[in-house]
Amino acid sequence: MLDKALSGSSRYWTWVIALMAIIGIGFVFWVQQMIEGLTITGLSRDVTWGLYIAQLTFFVGVAASAVMVVLPYYLHDYKEFGKLTILGEFLAIPAVIMCMAFVFVDMGQPIRIVNVFLHPSPTSPMFWDTVALFGYLVLNVVIAYVTFGAEKKGIAPPKWIKPIIILSIPWAVSIHTVTAFLYSGLPGRGFWLTAIMAPRFLASAFAGGPAILILLVLLVRKLTKFDPGLKPIFKLAEIVTYAMLVNVFFVLMEIFTVFYSQIPGHMDHFTFLYVGLDGNTTLVPWMWTSTILAAVALFLLLVPKLRRNEKVLPVACGSVIVSIWIDKGLGLMTGGFVPTPTHHVVSYVPTLPEIMITLMVYGVGALILTVLYKIAITEREIIEQVK
Amino acid sequence: MHDAKYIVPGLVAFLVLITLPLWYNAAMGRSAVGPTLQYPEGESQCVLPKDEMKGEHMQILDDWRDEAVRDGERYYVHPDGTTREKSLTNTCLGCHGDRAQFCIKCHDYAGVKPYCWDCHIEPERD
């Protein structure tokens, strides 16, 4: 199986080497961080989580979104997604690994990470997040390995895998719910203290994740002989449309509650993000970019003619991804910390080393994704040829 | 055997690599015999018998640390009935005052780098 990733065109190898170069450069900065400490990031006493944990949040969503192809295929027997499920699962695996890597690079004492298992703390959402993520990784590896192996041999997957696949569906929901609990259970952070944090996370995940999958599948169609057809892609686009609508709806719900109740401890964070507070407008352009992109995406997705246009769909998906990445990443993190508990308005700007280390983890994720997709697609091409 | 021309040199290279520390030490003239440690004078008994201390001191320190810091159990009752404070600085170094001739010598030999002194302050000795 793995040997399929070891032979490829020069284009494949150029891409692999480019990714390795990015990982290599990022690694140098990570070594610097290991030597000097997290002081080389833009984080501070007031904004203690930033780019790294924002990526964790975003990619937990991407990982969870595999359920959007698994569920219709296995529970509703929606056959069109048959060829996509493996690509969904092969997207979830690097996404979970990236999540773990982002937690790892964010820790002050990474060598002590085993303490989470040596001193398990059931009251901590972070403990449960670790458990949920590990479990989800194992589930996806097992499911992908077994179903793909069976398909390769041209036989039906063994019966015992079905309950495991069904289990992976609520498990996917759980990883993002527990990730939301990281934030939504903290008494002093008005921005995060909202019961729709988990639903909001799920909605944005089910919009952003499938949007990434659509882009990947369109790319695969272009670059290889493997073609799952346009029908499942357009079905995915419908899922993105609904999820994005729900996501925007949830954000508006938050805005109503916060600004109608006018409780300063909740309102100040939104004010800081969208118009600036005490003259600090660091994130205002970002948040409005996110808002405009969300509007553009919704327009392109809601008009059926545009959504089913192969040229327009990637633009809509790209807008969804960037919009959510800003909102769920930078906005959610910094917005939660500013204003601070002592009501100071501070700025957080990621530094170059921090960005390079983030790119390193992106590189690792892209590399794993490339290898997995290469295997899946090469095997598929062989199956098609045999037919 | 298929591919013997790759496998045999590969195996040889592997053997050389994993035995490298032995060759390296032989070349640098290091002996495999452990260092001679200086034991405190006039003390016959450590917290536990010598052999147990040799193998378990790190675990004992770890347990003491947790018990003293976390549970407030600051005293250890010695098998001979006397009580000792669970303290690296006061109890351990109280006898093994010359760290260079005891702790460090052996840790260097074993290639261990405990990070206690990154935070704890080594007491001054005359």
Binding site: G37, L38, D46, G265, T342 | R70, G72
Partner: protein, 260 residues
Amino acid sequence: MAKSTRRGFLKLAGVAAVGMGAKPVYDAFARRSAPEQPTPPAEALTAKRWAMVVDTRKCLREHGCTDCITTCHLVHNVPDFGNPKDEVKWVWKEQFEHGFPEQHNEFMSDDLRHKDVLLLCNHCDNPPCVRVCPTQATWKREADGIVMMDMHRCIGCRYCMAACPYGSRSFNWRDPRTHIAKIDEGFPTRTRGVVEKCNFCAERLVRGEIPACVEACKAKALAFGDLEDPESEVRDLLSRHFNIRRKPGLGTQPEVYYIV
């Protein structure tokens, strides 16, 4: 055939690796038993619930006094990096409107609004930082309610800093040793990558000494004692003067009280 054997081996190795990881987790759960009764030395100061009362009327901060802060940071080897980004602090001053952002009224006297108040860890009765810690590196002592930090166990995830509604926790973004003017041998420094905060001078209480800041205050604006003891000074102060706590609505039950 050879191929499937290799694959089988890899699978087995993977399962074995997971199995090896399960053992320490099981052990950790199995080990969890109630600790024996702590054995404080005879000279130690003990209480059922330690608390502090800050009399902001007496505090001489406007007159430039920083004795409590300086002393605390000196005896606890708190580094001074000279910039707010890397800053580490155990006790510090903040204007009233920042210390009590929900309690500053429109026509409050400028005196009070801009008055510096002393802020520190509240040693909450119901501490959110303890709840969220994934390794129990921070915990509340059953005996006297002090919220402690175990620097040996902290993994530096900073979840406690996000959970603390008072901004009482600091992280060692860089090696602190190089920025301590004079190292006090009586207390360890910290290592890079761990969180720290005020510990109500637990190391002094066990030696029979009151907290360093309380001792250092020449205006006698700080009182420290046992809330469960009706005869204590803190109880006396609280019963005779109007007092407030920071963000009481959050249910954290701070054990630091302010007389205003």
